[in-house]
Subunit: 429 residues, 2 copies
């Protein structure tokens, strides 16, 4: 007799709760699949050094790392990107675009708090091997379609930037230390205007340039409209014009995908410095109540660190935690309840065999069917049928069978009707 | 530039291979779901002590165990049963029968060999809270239905025994040390007849009793037929007769479930000693070429070790390794290839927007659709469409569009037809 608890930050999901999770995961996966992303399956444990290639010591300190029985340093996967890079490097024969999705668990030893668990689901969606605005747009289209299908399209917007655009604009201002300046831009949201300008000046930017950077990074509006404003503000510099043109192409592609209306250009979106090389985006709650839902972007330099091929890449890791909060707030989180098509009730023990027969036939037709396993009376069977939310109860009794019928009860309305034995499957399937 | 390999016994499944895996996992999960088993989700990491309750030191030595950053001794789940027992104990309000399924990974640090990996999928299917032959039969029916749907019903049979039956038969022979004797029975298959008898004698069994045990444990045939033979052979003892009656009831229930024809009674099936309390079964390749596919049974004493409730249980853990071998041998392992409903090809760049529009509409209709992301010419697009096994290519060209049509090419036959723009989704969905 002992009561051992689960680990902090690890969750048990009983059927009612997981039915809702499964519903949401299904939407995410089905959407990715319909866009032609293909499911892969990768190890939950990798050599620690795989993660060290990309991650700094701070992130490694948040991993579950240990020595296995063979003396290898191994790590529970905290993110799938390094594994994906390994898979891409292993195979030189993959046709591009390589479009992969996968939902699996990740593990990070973090301080557990709301929305931050130690074990969590993540769906990774990436296009490898193609550097194009269409690939960028498709990745955003998958994300936008997911929220549309989850019923919260009007609560989610995508803030979009391109690191090469910001880079070109800064360079056109005569700035060489663009990384340092982008670091300040990354902090802009936390700073008052004067602070922001001062921080920029501290990196060596002139007063005039700082003002223009402030203006540029204040752009935040519907992408198709803001492109024009960007053209006006952008300096007359070849690289800058090219970068603006590329953003205009992305806006066109987003329109073609039918998702431009939920996309906003926001030149202040940087998303850290070490990783992204082009497009960056973040999905936000448009009412601003929740923190970022998730983000993604283009990372053309990363896969090359894992092998001999340079492979461009764009994608995102869909986290469920904040999305779940949003769906609950909007009443779009699926009902946490069981659903059952048919419960087959036996009026008495001597018709149990017939009851099991009906249950088998209905299952063959693809229905979710339960029947009595505990020799319960009819009352107990109905109580159980209620507890599993059976839509219909098929009541099998000897007298009915003698007439060649069974009784079908609609559990919502309480209506009952008698159905010829041979029509049962057709009627209920 | 580095090439870090995956860990030995851990597999990367690229889309083609995983499509086949997913097909098989889907059959297993859908079958369990249609029988009213409900999906749960549980942690991949638990406190080490959870596994120590059930497992001996030998099994613990095969786990991935380590100290987490908080100083806790933790273990990657090598099997889900202890977790399930924990979940059942945590909730006193669960309606019985509690019917759960889940497919997830397990980890064991074993010597890697054919069919034995360090990371592997397993689907657990259990009924908790009900002790009945119907529950026993339902669990076997799920397993048998899985193999039926996988297309290998004629290659799989279930060898069935009941530990209480064997126990009662041995006790009726005046044997007290039934556990010791069952240990010998468990080894029977590896022993010559004389060796078996000698081993039995060595446990203190009389010559006559040993002969009868040999005869009883030689029973191996269709369960409905062998019940009669069992009745003849069984000693005239109250407990033995009761146990035989229970086996006859199980045979009846298996018949009601329509799976009796693949079930064989085999009194030599013991499946270890520490765990099972009633029904034990093993799924075998009926042509005897492969080792056991998987096994299961009733374990009424286990859940009680994990908390204050005594909860009967019956179920199995479906492993995929040997089943995969069998399906491959029988040509029933799904094709390891991609499948795509439609590839939308743009004849030239100026119709790309229209092509993306068709792709979006077709995806909304639930189809798997890809389109060009790399500004390829028509030839390159067709080559890619081929590589993803597109069933249909929708060719979008300006001249066709001017006529209000697009061209639909069936990739198998090569036939092309022109379809009015407004009919495209209806025609292809």
């Amino acid at each position: 007799m002992t009561d051992i608890e689960s680990l902090k930050g690890f969750y048990d999901r009983y059927p009612e709760e997981f039915a809702a999770w499964r519903g949401v995961i299904d939407v995410v996966e089905t959407t990715a699949a319909e866009f032609g992303f293909r499911e892969i399956d990768t190890p939950a444990v990798e050599r620690r050094e795989l993660y060290e290639i990309k991650s700094g010591e701070e992130l490694m300190d948040q991993t579950y790392s240990f020595e296995d029985r063979g003396g290898r340093q191994v790590t529970l996967t905290p993110e799938q990107t390094p594994t994906r890079a390994r898979l891409v490097q292993q195979r030189k024969d993959l046709k591009t675009p390589i479009k992969w999705y996968d939902t699996s668990k990740r593990w990070r030893y973090e301080n557990v708090q709301k929305g931050r668990d130690r074990e969590f689901f993540q769906t990774d969606v990436d296009v490898f091997g193609i550097e194009s605005v269409e690939a960028d747009a498709e990745v955003i289209a998958v994300a936008a379609t997911i929220y549309d299908r989850l019923g919260v399209a009007d609560r989610v917007e995508f803030l979009i930037n391109d690191r090469t655009l910001l880079d070109a604009l800064l360079e056109a201002e005569g700035i060489d230390n663009t990384d340092e300046v982008m670091g300040v831009v990354d902090d802009k949201e936390k700073l008052a205007r004067e602070e922001f300008l001062t921080e920029l000046r501290n990196t060596g930017v002139t007063h005039e340039a700082a003002e223009r950077i402030d203006e540029l990074t204040a752009i935040r509006g519907p992408i198709t409209e803001e492109i024009d404003r960007l053209r006006e503000l952008a300096p007359d510099d070849e690289d800058a014009v090219e970068a603006v043109d590329r953003m205009a192409d992305l806006a066109d592609a987003l329109e073609s995908y039918g998702v431009a209306d939920v996309c906003k250009l926001d030149l202040s979106i940087v998303r850290g410095l070490a990783y992204y090389t082009g497009l960056v985006f973040e999905a936000f709650d448009s009412e601003g109540e929740l923190r970022a839902l998730f983000g993604g972007g283009r990372y053309d330099d990363l896969v090359g660190l894992f092998g001999s091929q340079d492979v461009p890449a764009v994608g995102f890791a869909f986290g469920y935690s904040t999305t779940r909060e949003l769906l609950k707030k909007e009443g779009e989180w699926p009902a946490e309840e069981l659903s059952t098509d048919v419960y087959v009730a036996a009026v008495s023990g001597d018709v149990r065999e017939e009851a099991l027969g009906f249950a088998s036939d209905l299952r063959e037709a693809g229905l979710v069917v339960e029947t009595d396993l505990a020799s319960r009376g009819l009352g107990g069977q109905f109580e159980y049928a209620d507890s599993i939310n059976a839509e219909t109860v098929l009541i099998v009794g000897q007298r009915d069978l003698d007439d060649g019928v069974v009784t079908v009860r609609d559990m919502d309305s309480g209506d009952e009707r008698r159905v010829p034995v041979e029509d049962v499957v057709d009627e209920l399937a």
